[in-house]
Amino acid sequence: MNREKRMNCTEIHSLLVKQIADDLLPEEKRSVERHLAECASCAAEERSLAMIWQEFEGLPVREIPPELYEKTRDRILDDLKREKSLSPWFAKIPSTGPWRALVSIAAGLATAAISYGLIHRLVDPTVHHHYILVLLFSLWWVLFAGGFWLILKSKGERSLRLDLVSARSISVALLALLISFLTYELEFLRWLAVSAAYEIAVVSNDVFGMGNTFVAAWWIHCCLASFIGAFIFGLSRSRGSSENLFIESFVVTILLSPAMYLQGSSHNHGFGLIAFAALGAYVGSLVGMGLGLIIRRRLSYQAA
């Protein structure tokens, strides 16, 4: 009995400071109070600790010097203002009425032109009729214009996530096209891409009994572009990166589909190529974002 009481007292002693700091769970608090009502030595211990806790009240509190408080606040506010002024051109774009539509159409046209500039070397004009090209690049223009319209529409409302999706999708689509362009233009990159595609095709042939270097090249291409994009989004500060991931992959695939179809149809792989590229985009997005989020989580407390 005596032993049991001593054990209980030891346990209670370990909770007394928590009791004074008001950090006990309700059931722990009840147990401590019940014990203190019965045990005079623990009650005395609790009183002496509470007196020490109370002693802190007497310590003088030094107020922050007003000039230090103001100076630090002003320095950060100035910095915030400077950051905002980095993109004054974007703030000046009117986002109301017909302006929004006009700016979106113009921006969509410019982006489609850049895209065409990046991809035109890959398109064989002897294979495709001009009306097909016009139709496909018009579709591209409409999709880009829609993306810009969403960005402008939600310029002042941070809660709307579609603007982030469209902004990222346009960036990733352009990034993917840039990778195409560089891969086509630079000898070393072309060799690297063809070799990697060849190896994947060989493995695919061994495992699934089918494989194609051309399709594998597109798979790598979309996977890489989506990986880079998703990795950046995973690290970025905005909310909802994970929720946006699959929508973005989907939008990117739609944006790139005309180019993929053009390339695929030259080799009789038309829509099959789009399906493989979409798969590559999803895999790249998933791995890239996962990695980005893990690194960000680690950095978050380390930065602190």
């Binding site: 950090d23 310590l59 950051e83």
Partner: protein, 200 residues
């Protein structure tokens, strides 16, 4: 003309919603404000600063006692907070994140002093700054001396618990320790203070 310009600017920048959110910033949680601050909203920063500026300075003063060092670290804390805001994730409790920044700076500062050859003299000088405050109470003076005799970890845990009103799990996050480790630190610190009080 000026009014027209103002109205146009507001409509172009969707500033109406901005002013609305500025007025009601005080109703947001710390985490919500932090998200707005990440998006560049100045009013959100001002609200967070108003909530925590004085508290952080108090925390630094209690840990370091030297006003000059505290002032330097106060500025450094908020500059790091500002520069590192992109790395904050809303699922982290804001308060512990901010205190972790301040606490890590205190630790670095104390470590640097220990490494310095003049560490002993500087520390003695710092303590004398605080203990020299004329409060007319011998008991309080000896209490301060007893407090100065605690280890850095014990001081850290005790200050966060007693003055910043943090729960042990929050302190654990700030210090990078388990809740039980924090419990042990606070207990040992309290018993040390009581022993000193008994002796005096």
């Amino acid at each position: 003309m000026a009014t027209l310009k103002k109205t146009l600017a507001r409509s172009f920048l969707s500033a109406v919603s901005y002013y609305e959110t500025e007025a009601s910033c005080s109703s947001f949680s710390d985490e919500e404000l932090m998200i707005r601050y990440q998006a560049g909203e100045e009013a959100a920063f001002e609200e967070l600063y108003a909530r925590y500026g004085k508290k952080i300075y108090g925390f630094l003063m209690r840990r370091l006692t030297n006003p000059e060092t505290s002032a330097d670290l106060f500025q450094e804390t908020f500059l790091r907070f500002h520069r590192g805001r992109a790395l904050y994730r809303p699922e982290l409790p804001f308060k512990t994140w901010l205190y972790a920044i301040a606490n890590n700076l205190v630790r670095d500062s104390l470590r640097a002093k220990v490494r310095s050859k003049l560490a002993g003299a500087a520390e003695a000088n710092e303590n004398s700054v605080e203990t020299a405050i004329p409060d007319g109470s011998y008991k309080l003076q000896s209490f301060k001396e007893a407090f100065a005799g605690l280890t850095d970890d014990q001081k850290e845990a005790l200050v966060l618990s007693r003055f910043e009103g943090m729960k042990y799990d929050e302190i654990g996050r700030v210090m990078g320790r388990s809740t039980e480790a924090v419990n042990q630190l606070v207990q040992r610190a309290m018993r040390h203070l009581r022993e000193c009080a008994d002796e005096s």
